[in-house]
Each structure stands twice: as structure tokens, then as C-alpha cells.
């Protein structure tokens, strides 16, 4: 895990420093610069935090879904613990993506919330996982809690697929890739990313993803230690 921690730190530090320090210029030909995008201006820098945060939350939710499936097939409680940790971290990253997105929306679209299809879908995703945590907290029995919450996370996760990938494509919205956008369905379609931006974005995506794995392993170790302490006390 030490290597993951070091790689995450290097990626995040480099991408953050570059994203904040590189000049925003009208030409897309310069390598050590960010291109000027009409309507976005200097605010384009938040792209390197907002998009990776949203991506990492998706990675975490997919892992939560995967561990939920593994629990239902194997009935090993460790998978339920993993599913719950992945959902908690996914929720955290999703909240941060929503906050950074709202800040960006205020500057570019004029208000913090615009009911754009992607904004609606991220809000519903937060609702799904709030409901997941509510369900977990309402059941005392470990086995029943694990079984029901895994089933709910799989069921609503599949429903979320429609929200994230289908609805934003058929309804018009402000985000790139919405229905009617000439650039098509590519999420960052019309942003005309330069090579610098692509490298930075990839670096930030890797950094946040590795950060997730590091946080996940830390939380898992804490949960396992807590569990063993509880078991020792019970004896």
C-alpha cells in the first residue's frame, strides 16, 4: 500500500500544482498552457478536480456493487464490510464532486443549481446511497443487514445506470454530451482539450483513483482491527 500512497501523492501534487499554475491562453498550440475556452476562462482549472472526483465516486460505487454481489454469492462478511466502505468513500467523493460542480456552475451558468440532467442524476445518486446508509443503520442483525443492503445496492445501482447514462443523453442540458450537443455523447465533447489538459486530466484521474484505493485500505484495516477488539472483549 506504500507504493499506492506514494503514487497518489505524486500524481495529485503534480496535477494540482500544474492545474493552478499554468497560464490560460487563447492559442491551443502552446504545450505548457491551458487553452482559453469561451465562457469558461480561468474557471477551467476546476475541471481537474471536478471530473476526477466524479470519476472516483463512480469507481467507488462500482466496487461497492461488486462487493455486494460477492457477499450475496459467498456470504462472507468481509465483502459486506468492503461494500460498505466503498459506498462511504463513493458518497464522500460524490459530495465533493457536487460541491465543486456547484461552484463551477455558479461562475459559468449563473446559479449553484440549474436542474441540469447530470446535476439531477448526481443528486439522485446521493439519495440512493443516503437510503443505503439509512437501511444499514435501521437493521441490528449483522447478517440480515448485509444481505438486504447488498440487494438494495445492486438493485438501485442498476437503476442509477439509467440516470447516469440514459437520461442525460435524451434530455437537453447544460453539461457537454447532453442531448442536442453537436459533439455527441462524449462527456467532455466540445471542450477542445489540448495535450496539456489531457495529460493533466489523466494525471488527476490516476491520482484521485489511487487516493481512493489508499483510503479504502486504511478504512478496511481500521474496521478489521475494531472488529477484532470487539471479538476479544466479547470473550
Amino acid at each position: 500500500m506504500k507504493i499506492v500512497r506514494v503514487c497518489a501523492s505524486v500524481c495529485l501534487l503534480t496535477s494540482t500544482l500544474l492545474a493552478l499554475s499554468l497560464p490560460v491562453v487563447p492559442s491551443t498550440q502552446l504545450f505548457f498552457a491551458l487553452p482559453y475556452i469561451v465562457g469558461l476562462g480561468e474557471t477551467v482549472r476546476i475541471l481537474f478536480f471536478h471530473v476526477p472526483l466524479a470519476w472516483t465516486s463512480m469507481v467507488a460505487f462500482v466496487f461497492s456493487l461488486f462487493y455486494g454481489m460477492r457477499f450475496l454469492t459467498s456470504r462472507k462478511m468481509l465483502y459486506d464490510v468492503r461494500a460498505s466502505i466503498a459506498a462511504e468513500l463513493g458518497f464522500l467523493f460524490c459530495m465533493l464532486a457536487t460541491i465543486t460542480g456547484s461552484m463551477w456552475a455558479k461562475v459559468t451558468w449563473g446559479s449553484f443549481w440549474n436542474w441540469d440532467p447530470r446535476e439531477t442524476s448526481i443528486l439522485i445518486l446521493l439519495l440512493i446511497y443516503s437510503a443505503y446508509f439509512a437501511l444499514r443503520s435501521a437493521i441490528v442483525d449483522y447478517e440480515l443487514r448485509a444481505r438486504l443492503s447488498s440487494a438494495y445496492s445492486i438493485f438501485s445501482g442498476v437503476g442509477a445506470f439509467f440516470l447516469i447514462f440514459v437520461l442525460p443523453r435524451i434530455t437537453s442540458g447544460l453539461h457537454p454530451g447532453a442531448h442536442g450537443d453537436e459533439a455527441g455523447v462524449v462527456p467532455l465533447g466540445n471542450l477542445s482539450l489540448s495535450a496539456t489538459m489531457v495529460i493533466l486530466l489523466i494525471l488527476a484521474l490516476c491520482g484521485f483513483t489511487l487516493l481512493y484505493f489508499w483510503m479504502f485500505s486504511l478504512k478496511l484495516r481500521v474496521e478489521v482491527i475494531e472488529e477484532s477488539i470487539v471479538n476479544q472483549k466479547a470473550r
Binding site: 450475496l72 439531477t120 439522485i124 445518486l125 439519495l127 440512493i128 437510503a131 439509512a134 437501511l135 435501521a138 437493521i139 440480515l144 444481505r147 438486504l148 440487494a151 438494495y152 445492486i154 438493485f155 438501485s156 442498476v158 437503476g159 442509477a160 445506470f161 439509467f162 440516470l163 440514459v166 437520461l167 435524451i170 434530455t171
Partner: protein, 224 residues
């Protein structure tokens, strides 16, 4: 396969007959819809002429009606202790599909009742095609029932099921709601079936996907 269809038919008949004898869920649902529509008329007054708001309210009333009655579909089996017999005589697939059919039927009757109330209280709403309305009602109600039936099975063994049911049902139901409300608004504004085809296909896709997931997961919930 024939055995499964027979079991589904028996479960539907059993639930309809049991409902006919007690009339508990059915009466509560109809009264709830009546009260909701009356509240809309009385509270909104002159604003209740807005067709878009009424289209949204239509599905909100259906949602809360389904919350009141549908959770009983599996809960009553556990409360009466009949779930063990059901488990012995029927395949989980038949039980899920049977309960789903009953819930679709119940919601369909409720939505027809709301339409009748809308015709009486909001005469300015005109539907261009009866076939389009029926198609939208069937797909919309099936979309809602797929989710609520699965959640009813999921929560049947928990203690705080009443409060959890609404909280858990809203997020996975929103794709259906956003789509059917959009389609209903188009219909009440005078557009034809052709113009709501996209929305209907999305709901059909949702029904097929969620039904598949529910069938796979129901086995894990029912047999433990």
C-alpha cells in the same frame, strides 16, 4: 414453464380473492386518491388549471397511493405466517411475478380512478388519444410496480419498514417518474403517441432491466 405460469395465475387469483374478501388495501388506496385529488382542488384553487402541474401531481398521487398499499403484499404473508406455505408450494420466480402482476393491476385500477376524478374536477384536461393514455398508464404503473414489489420483499422482514419504504423507493423510482411525467406533460399539451415513443421505450427498458435484476435477487431474499 407451464407449471410456473400456473403458479403465477394461482398467486394472482389468491391475492385478488383475499383482497376481495378484506378490501383493506383497495379501499385505503381509493380513499387516499380521492382525498389527494380533493386536497389538490381545494388547496391549489385557481392554480389547479395548470396542465403541467396536474400531470406531475397525477404521478405523485400514484406514488403515495402505492406506498400505502403495496408494502402489504409480502408483509401480510409474513404477518399471517402464510409465507412458509407459499415457499413450499411455489417457485420464487412465480411468487415475484405473481405479486408483481397483482401490484400492477392494483395500480392500474387506482390510476383509472384518478383519471375519472381528473375528468370530473379538471375538465380542461383533454387527452388526444385514449390508446396513448392507456399505454402510458400500463408502462408507468409496471415501472413503479417492478421497483415497489422488490422493495416490499426486501423490507418485509425488517422492523422499521413503513418509514424505510418511501426513503428506499424514491431514488430507484426517479428514472421512471422523470420519464413518465415528461410523457404525460406532452400528452396533456396535445402531442401524439409518436412524440412520447422515446419515453415509453426508456420505461420499457427500465422494466425489463429491473425485472431481471429483481428476479435474480428475489431468490436470495425469499429463501433465507
Amino acid at each position: 414453464m407451464l407449471g410456473v405460469i400456473k403458479q403465477i395465475a394461482y398467486i394472482v387469483l389468491k391475492d385478488v380473492w383475499s383482497e376481495y374478501r378484506t378490501k383493506y388495501a383497495f379501499n385505503v388506496l381509493l380513499l387516499f386518491t380521492l382525498v389527494s385529488v380533493l386536497m389538490t382542488v381545494l388547496v391549489m384553487g385557481k392554480f389547479s388549471t395548470n396542465k403541467e402541474i396536474l400531470a406531475g401531481l397525477f404521478w405523485i398521487i400514484i406514488f403515495f397511493s402505492s406506498m400505502g398499499g403495496l408494502s402489504r403484499s409480502f408483509v401480510s404473508e409474513f404477518e399471517k405466517g402464510t409465507h412458509l406455505t407459499l415457499r413450499l408450494i411455489a417457485h420464487p420466480l412465480s411468487i415475484y411475478i405473481g405479486k408483481l402482476c397483482v401490484n400492477v393491476l392494483l395500480l392500474f385500477v387506482v390510476s383509472i380512478f384518478i383519471i375519472l376524478l381528473y375528468i370530473v374536477f379538471f375538465p380542461m384536461i383533454g387527452f388526444p388519444s385514449l390508446f396513448a393514455v392507456l399505454l402510458l398508464l400500463v408502462t408507468g404503473n409496471a415501472g413503479i410496480a417492478v421497483t415497489t414489489t422488490f422493495l416490499a420483499a426486501l423490507l418485509a422482514k425488517t422492523e422499521a419498514r413503513e418509514s424505510l419504504y418511501t426513503v428506499l423507493a424514491v431514488p430507484p423510482l426517479l428514472p421512471v417518474y422523470l420519464t413518465v411525467v415528461q410523457a404525460t406533460i406532452k400528452l396533456v399539451l396535445g402531442e401524439s403517441l409518436h412524440n412520447i415513443a422515446n419515453e415509453l421505450w426508456i420505461v420499457v427498458g427500465y422494466i425489463i432491466t429491473m425485472c431481471g435484476v429483481s428476479i435474480l435477487l428475489f431468490d436470495k431474499l425469499w429463501n433465507d
